[in-house]
């Protein structure tokens, strides 16, 4: 059952469309991530769901009830904003117990719930502290705890992990998701971090320029991107331009700059069409011995822990990045000549973007 439905929402601030005919459905009990770069309209989208911002046109439905003109406090949705607005005169425990208390819930069971939540956010030892004694990351976790304890069945989380240290963020990703699932809540979570979205979401809605450009499971968005932007934003991709030379069976042959020839997924685009071929850096392969589509020289090796990224300079094509498991680190050295290859089905074919590649891939 759709819990939240946005229908053709438009919201302009001056000449900027923060929501440009935006439609989105969130199912009951779903954990949905709205993923996009800064300025894409993520926060506006959340504020419209919550009732903090009125759309210029379009409708918001909760359980098929039109709530577009309903006030914030009548909507039964709790928003955790990037500004935490904790009560400064109350300690951490009182801040989080505030919701259960004014709702006059059973005290013993509220206390147990709040205890579990404190444990989840790693704050059980700071319950007596006051907000001004806490770091930004700690305040964020308390705000998150308060939102979870509010009793709302809909949780709107605007970058809930942003202020946290990288390591703690990894822990809280798992814990926040399982807590939301355990409590049977519906969550909409805004983030700019594609790894966070992949790991946490049931479905991801990729937003850009006030429009949802793709909605799907993490696997769908990663493996079947609809636009070059999605291909590069959700897991980096190598972007290579070319012209369709032929397409037969499952495979297309593309001619690139300098007479290079490479394969991609089948496309029904006409021979001679200008296209952009996108291959995830994790699906791009290099070899010292085998043949490939082109040869290049290794410029750089970057160690990232579980993975390494190798950058290869290919004449006429530019830099091609390859993500490999870390055990391959010693297999390649700077200045090695390698061939570059990929399976044709892992190479997506897109129309060459009208406004140019740089504009299409812009993430900032």
């Amino acid at each position: 059952m759709p819990r939240i439905r946005l229908e053709n929402i438009v919201k302009r601030f001056g000449t900027v469309a923060a929501a440009d005919d935006l439609s989105l459905t969130v199912n009951d009990g779903e954990y949905l991530c709205i993923l996009g770069p800064t300025g894409a309209g993520k926060t506006t989208c959340m504020r419209i769901i919550c009732g903090l911002t009125d759309p210029d046109s379009g409708h918001v439905y909760f359980d098929d009830r039109d709530v577009t003109r309903l006030e914030v406090n009548m909507r039964e949705a709790t928003m955790l904003s990037q500004v935490y607005s904790l009560f400064p005169q109350m300690n951490v425990y009182e801040n989080v117990m505030f919701g259960p208390l004014i709702k006059e819930w059973d005290e013993e069971s509220s206390r147990q719930m709040v205890k579990n939540i404190f444990h989840m956010v790693h704050m059980e030892e700071r319950v007596n502290a006051y907000p001004n004694e806490l770091s930004g990351g700690q305040q964020q976790r308390i705000a998150l705890a308060r939102a979870l304890a509010s009793g709302s069945k809909i949780l709107l989380l605007d970058e809930p992990l942003r202020a946290l240290d990288a390591r703690l963020r990894l822990e809280l990703r798992k814990e926040l998701r399982s807590m939301v699932k355990e409590m049977g809540l519906t969550a909409v979570h805004v983030t700019h971090d594609q790894e966070e979205a992949l790991e946490m979401a049931d479905r991801i809605a990729v937003i850009r320029d006030g429009r949802i450009i793709q909605v799907g499971t993490p696997k769908e968005v990663f493996e079947e991107p609809k636009t070059p932007f999605v291909a590069n934003f959700v897991g980096r991709s190598n972007m290579i331009e070319g012209v369709i030379a032929s397409a037969e069976g499952d495979v297309a042959t593309v001619t690139g700059n300098g007479g290079t020839v490479f394969k991609a997924r089948y496309t029904d685009r006409a021979v001679g069409s200008k296209v952009l071929v996108a291959v995830k850096i994790g699906n791009t392969k290099i070899s010292l011995t085998e043949d490939g589509y082109f040869k290049g020289r290794i410029e750089r090796k970057l160690y990232e822990g579980a993975t390494i990224t190798v950058e290869v300079n290919v004449p006429d094509i530019g830099t091609v990045s390859v993500k490999l498991p870390n055990r391959k680190f010693d297999d390649f050295e700077i200045d090695d000549e390698v061939s570059v290859n990929w399976s044709p089905e892992k190479a997506f074919v897109f129309d060459y973007p009208e406004n140019g590649l740089e504009d299409e891939l812009r993430v900032d």
Binding site: K280, L302, A306
Partner: protein, 361 residues
């Protein structure tokens, strides 16, 4: 050649030790990251080097000369802050040339230098813009150009990427490394992000509670951490409590898990019966037809791989990766886990317990 040397540096604020007895040498042209959780003293340390703070005790040497009494403006250190600190009313060109102007450089030189550094960060086409017209990543590039335009051979980066989007962060960190390596600049880069630290630095200095916990190249620390905290903080890992069951002549260790199952691990100095912890990264756990029995709790798509979370018969939670193309197990499935023994690092079981040993705050 040693560029920066810290000798017994202690910085106290009232009764609180921000850093305590730090000794560190940084070579000329080296890219060092200072990595650690919030509040570990990492920012204090670079502020002491830059001269923003005067240490309570200890001595700071730059190029072999003690600089404790040399004020910040004469230390010749570039500094980039987490919160982008450009002058909002000045255009990009003037922001970058600010340092030159303050030093009364000629207008001609100022413009030439500003152009040169804006070109290096690929922002020359924006030189007439004011900061608010640029994105966060672009502003931070300008801040970097401004720090470098002073011509200083040392750069302190104080969480320079923290305020930026995840994706912009990844692009920019590679740009920074490329640039400073080209210019031969010595860099101290403070961060709480272990992946960032691993991908940019020649050497990582891991801090905790005001002291240096461990140092090493990214590869050394990731593959051969010398402490449980380093194993946990730098990269993801499974930490499993067990005890030493057998020891071979050359030090190879076999451990007994809580359910009695035996697992081969790497070399260690511990003896039969000693309580230990093994650290195995998810990419070094495989499934087989026999091994540690576990039940699949959760399967998460991570892009190029699936992360499988299991609970083993030993009551340990063990995570492993399988490639995106492989057959995915179902929740509730039974699997048998084996560990890459060479990559299973053995530590003494901490007296205070594992959770205390890896606490982030």
């Amino acid at each position: 050649m040693t560029k920066i040397k810290l000798e017994h540096i202690t910085m106290r604020f009232g009764n609180i030790f921000a850093v305590r007895d730090i000794n560190l040498e940084v070579q000329s042209g080296e890219y060092v990251t200072i990595l650690g959780p919030s509040g570990c003293g990492k920012t204090t340390l670079i502020k002491v080097i830059a001269g923003i703070l005067t240490p309570t005790e200890g001595r700071v040497f730059i190029d072999g000369n003690e600089v404790n009494d040399i004020p910040i403006e004469d230390r010749d250190v570039g500094y980039v802050f987490q919160n982008i600190a450009l002058f909002p009313h000045m255009d990009i060109m003037d922001n970058v040339g600010y340092g030159q102007r303050v030093r009364n450089a000629s207008e001609e030189d100022t413009v030439a230098i500003s152009n040169e550094y804006l070109e290096l960060v690929k922002m020359l086409d924006r030189s007439g813009y004011i900061p608010s017209e640029l994105s966060g990543g672009e502003q931070q590039k300008v801040a970097l150009a401004r720090a470098l335009a002073s011509g200083s051979k040392m750069l302190m980066l104080d969480e320079p990427l923290s305020a930026l989007d995840a994706r912009v962060r990844v692009e920019l960190r590679y740009d920074i490394r490329r640039l400073v390596k080209r210019l031969g600049i010595t860099v101290l880069h403070v961060t709480h992000d272990q992946e960032e630290a691993m991908s940019v630095s020649d050497r990582i200095v891991l801090m905790r509670n005001g002291t240096i916990f461990e140092t090493g190249t990214p590869l050394e620390i990731y593959r051969h951490p010398r402490s449980i905290f380093a194993a946990y903080f730098i990269g993801e890992t499974n930490l499993i409590e067990c005890s030493v069951a057998q020891k071979s002549k050359n030090g190879k260790t076999t451990v007994r898990l809580r359910d009695g199952s035996m697992v081969k691990a790497g070399k260690s100095i511990y003896s039969v019966g000693d309580p230990v912890v093994i650290s195995v990264r998810p990419e070094h756990v495989y499934t087989a037809t026999d091994g540690l029995r576990a039940v699949v709790k959760d399967i998460v798509f991570m892009g190029t791989y699936w992360r499988v979370r299991t609970e083993a018969d030993s009551e340990d939670y063990v995570e492993y990766n399988i490639s995106a193309d492989s057959q995915v197990p179902m929740r509730g499935d039974e699997v048998f886990l084996v560990f890459n023994k060479k990559a299973s690092v053995v530590f003494a079981r901490p007296y205070e317990g594992i959770w205390e040993a890896i606490r982030l705050e």
